[in-house]
């Protein structure tokens, strides 16, 4: 039976990656820094966003897209601070780009300085989905254990920054900040690392300054290109 072999040699995700690149470029041109927050469930993504928005006191135009399997509980918490759209995945373990784009279309059409995407709590699948963000930030809370980076290498490798949260609980949990830093640096040597406690309001100003600096950097890159 005559057979013919077709050589394809293509990344299965190529189309999705191109779509993410396009979304990122569009937001860059609009001056919007897109930040994708990822972590396991309960690490404090929503609390960090509340603290961030409270710290900024409307200094910047910010909007939030928040993903969950069900309910709009996180959106309810964030709406007092900024326009927020809940993205409900209906059971899917990550946010896909089309859902983000749909949510973005539903936001009020005003110029934005920052767009936060709060991903579904999961250290596995969201690692494989580029949502067109400029900055991927992974959160690890002190109650989760300091051994996470080595166990979830893709998530930490693909992140630009690590925020260690719930620092106020350090006296009560066996968590060593140096251990998590060392483990994370094995996976991603250039990871930006910060520590925060939302309840004690420590580290929030430095985190906000980091975001502002990264947006400034993005704007400079835009001007140069």
């Amino acid at each position: 039976m005559p057979a013919e072999t077709i050589t394809v040699n293509r990344d299965i995700d190529a189309d999705r990656r191109d779509a993410a690149k396009k979304f990122r470029e569009q937001r860059s041109r609009a001056g919007t820094l897109v930040v994708n927050l990822v972590s396991s469930p309960g690490a404090g993504k929503t609390s960090l966003l509340e603290a961030t928005l409270a710290h900024w006191k409307q200094r910047w135009n910010v909007a939030v897209l928040v993903g969950d399997l069900a309910t709009d509980r996180d959106a309810q918490r964030l709406r007092p601070f900024a326009p927020t759209e809940q993205l409900t995945t209906g059971g899917a373990c990550h946010l896909p780009l089309p859902l983000v784009e749909q949510g973005f279309q539903r936001l009020p059409s005003c110029p934005l300085d920052f767009l936060f995407i709060e991903n579904v709590g999961n250290l596995v699948c969201p690692a494989s989905h580029d949502l067109g963000e400029h900055l991927r930030v992974v959160l690890v809370s002190t109650t989760e254990g300091d051994d996470k980076p080595g166990k979830y290498p893709k998530m930490f490798r693909t992140s630009d920054a690590l925020v260690v949260t719930k620092l106020d609980l350090l006296p009560y949990v066996p968590f060593d900040v140096d251990c998590v830093v060392q483990d994370a640096r094995k996976v991603q040597a250039n990871l930006e690392i910060m520590t925060v406690s939302v309840t004690q309001q420590t580290g929030i100003a430095a985190w906000c300054a980091f975001l502002e600096k990264r947006r400034e950097h993005m704007l400079q890159e835009m001007q140069q290109s």
Binding site: A3, T5, I6, V8, N9, D11, I12, H94, A189, N190
Partner: protein, 124 residues
């Protein structure tokens, strides 16, 4: 567990390429086999891929298509000494100068390599 969505995407691309191949041909060809490559950091569990492939092709024209999986090791290039290192685990260090300033060059993708097409069986 996003292997199913990835296999759905793979199958969509296989069908498109097969349709393109069959376009204008006198005898239509079936996809006898599909060869894929899964990188160590692709975010895809190679053990789950045949299961997803089997379930998603059940009672479709691709039901009897063979799936051939090649695993690919992770490799990086050092931005300091410019040498390549194949990684065994997930410690991202240059094997030559131990620098952490490395860039992935292979092993973070799920690739469709080849498709083998053959003439349809005709029952006598």
């Amino acid at each position: 567990m996003h292997e199913f969505s990835l296999i759905r995407s793979l199958l969509r691309q296989v069908k498109e390429i097969a349709a393109e191949h069959n376009d204008g041909q006198v005898e239509s060809h079936r996809v006898a086999s599909v060869e894929v490559q899964i990188g160590a950091l692709a975010g895809v569990e190679p053990e789950l891929v045949p299961l997803a492939f089997e379930q998603l092709t059940h009672q479709t024209p691709l039901e009897h298509t063979a799936l051939i999986i090649h695993k690919q090791a992770l490799a990086v290039v050092c931005t300091d000494c410019e040498q390549e290192t194949e990684l065994e685990g997930f410690v991202f260090r240059c094997g030559h100068c131990q620098s952490g300033n490395v860039r992935i060059i292979r092993g973070d993708q799920f690739r469709l390599l080849t498709m083998t097409m053959e003439q349809e069986h005709h029952a006598c």
